[in-house]
């Protein structure tokens, strides 16, 4: 998507462009998923199976599929409009997988989502998880649980880029980085 105007970056610095071995991208409408929610799981499992050649084993498959699914669900749920595209881009660089979900944000939720991203990037995530779960009792739409878990439990790098394009308004591109070298060292 062609950005215009200022770009706001929050979170980790993730290089999404250099030394990429391969990539693929899928574009869909949130409407597709509201017709058939299982498509998210199908797509996530496909990505995990496709990269099974590079990152073999059930542990890696479960990890990749889980992170991709969370980013897809997050993008679909927080899209501005069911008919505006969500773009999922998957890249591989050596022992890293980069997973990006790009969606248009509704105007009235932009500030709230920026605040969620700042919290995830700056706060103690164990405390934030407990706080968010208690908020969830009152507001089932309290957001960001999936993103908190990706960063907290899977040690993934996580970045958020907010930008504007003339056609669709404000977007957020959420990027997760899984470094399998680091993950193997933790085991």
């Amino acid at each position: 998507m062609q950005a215009s105007g200022k770009i706001l970056h929050i979170g980790d610095n993730i290089d999404f462009h250099n030394d990429i071995d391969n990539l693929f991208s899928v574009t869909f409408l949130p409407l597709d998923f509201f017709d058939s929610w299982e498509r998210g799981s199908l797509l996530s499992n496909f990505v995990a199976d496709y990269y099974g050649h590079n990152f073999p084993g059930p542990e890696a498959r479960n990890l990749i599929s889980t992170v991709v699914n969370e980013l897809i669900e997050n993008a679909v749920k927080f899209s501005r409009n069911n008919s505006m595209p969500v773009i999922i881009t998957i890249k591989k660089r050596k022992e890293e997988m980069l997973i990006q979900a790009d969606n248009c944000l509704p105007k009235h939720r932009q500030d709230a989502f920026v605040a969620v991203c700042r919290e995830i990037s700056e706060k103690d995530l164990d405390e934030l998880y407990v706080k968010r779960m208690h908020e969830n009792l009152k507001d089932p739409n309290s957001s960001g649980i999936g993103l908190i878990l990706i960063k907290k439990d899977y040690c993934a790098g996580l970045s958020f880029s907010f930008y504007t394009d003339d056609r669709h308004g404000t977007h957020v591109a959420v990027t997760a980085k899984l470094d399998f070298d680091d993950l193997r060292k933790q085991q």
């Binding site: 299982e38 990890l63 599929s65 889980t66 699914n69 669900e73 779960m133 009792l137 089932p140 439990d153």
Partner: protein, 113 residues
């Protein structure tokens, strides 16, 4: 008492106060998880003492599912009912995320086999 679809099974056994969750649980949100939440609440009301949740064969659980189970755990904390969660070390989300339930209630016992 069982909820079964092509993707997942949630089965409650009164004899041993155990709820077994298996398959892929990636439902859309709170509303879709309500039947499972209700089943858990009912299973918790059957007997005194601990309720066991066996998740070893639950291959995927999305964050909406983690939220729904977290809310159930908070309900158990309110009534002081202990919960045992059994998971598998071979399922990545379980080895990474099951511990979160313990942060919500100290009487959650996690066993990862």
């Amino acid at each position: 008492m069982t909820i079964q679809t092509d993707a997942y099974t949630v089965a409650a056994n009164k004899e041993d106060s155990t709820v077994t969750l298996a398959g892929t649980l990636r439902l859309q949100g709170r509303e879709q998880y309500q039947p499972i939440f209700d089943l858990l609440l009912e299973a918790a009301s059957w007997r005194e003492g601990k309720l066991t949740m066996n998740m070893r064969d639950l291959i995927f659980l999305n964050s909406s599912g983690i939220s729904a189970i977290s809310l159930f755990i908070i309900e158990m904390r309110k009534i002081g009912k202990p919960v045992a969660i059994v998971g598998s070390n071979e399922v990545t989300w379980q080895s990474k995320s099951l511990k979160n339930f313990q942060r919500l209630y100290e009487q959650v016992e996690i066993t990862i086999l």
